[in-house]
Symmetry: C2
Subunit: 138 residues, 2 copies
DNA sequence: CCCCATTAGAGAATGATTCTCTTTTGATAT
DNA sequence: ATATCAAAAGAGAATCATTCTCTAATGGGG
């Protein structure tokens, strides 16, 4: 249960290792779903039936500050979360709520080269995220 | 005041022309700001001091359904709005709330060509939106 | 094993957005 | 022009995700 990897991440980031934090991080890293706060609470409550939303939000905020996870914007304003691994892009399904990570080294290089040549006036680029909108085939 | 262009857009989309709708659309198309619902209400109230939020939200929903405008995602979950003109991308400032449209035909072509060659398994692309995160120089 | 800063718990508060119900109004046909 | 009526606006309550506040519990260094 006590996931070594998860505990390592917490200690490396100077976050006290608590059962709740371990549970939240396990859920986010386990699910490839980009869960919302509600999704996370639902999962945690399978093991800790009384965890309040406030606690989970606080944990998520702590993780975001340490850049262990990041927020994922959605069209409808509900915040979802993603464990940051390598830089990646997102596939958004128009119909369902499905969001999927999209890794593509070539694409990253392509963009990087493109903006190396073509500067944007008065703007310093730090990162780019491509949202690929479309439909998953069944 | 009664903006011909705005009225034309409304009638073309089978939306009844009301002063409130004209005002909302004028604001969104006038401001290049990607205003939030609150911003829009503030502006409208200069002329119609009593417009309720509910009305503006209903108008915005109607416009979105007709694809006259679109939602813009933000990091903090507050929805902002953008009049859809040509396909474009967004510059997000890390520090301020500033969001700016970024037009780049070459970039569109680059992406289009890239994904023409490199198909994503089980996914049909409809559109891509690049979020360029960084900082505006002062 | 003690201490205490940090974290979790509990629940109220907030604030953006949505919903419901009533009144008004734009646009079509008379 | 006027009547008509579906659609839209007004008003305000309701909802729901998120944040805040305050108190109790606890992880981990000494």
């Amino acid at each position: 249960m006590a996931d070594k990897e998860v505990i390592k991440i917490l200690t490396e980031n100077n976050l006290k290792v608590t059962p709740q934090r371990v549970a939240v991080l396990e859920v986010i890293m386990g699910l490839e779903n980009h869960p919302s706060a509600e999704n996370i609470v639902d999962y945690i409550r399978l093991n800790f039936p009384h965890v309040p939303f406030g606690t989970v939000y606080k944990i998520l905020d702590a993780f975001i500050e340490k850049e262990i996870i990041q927020r994922v914007k959605t069209e409808n304003g509900i915040i979802r979360y993603d464990s940051v691994k390598k830089p990646h892009h997102h596939l958004y399904c128009e119909d369902s709520e499905r969001i999927e990570d999209f890794y593509d080294e070539d694409l990253n290089k392509l963009l990087e080269n493109y903006f190396k040549k073509k500067k944007i006036p008065n703007f310093t680029i730090k990162d780019y995220k491509l949202q690929i909108v479309g439909k998953f085939k069944v």
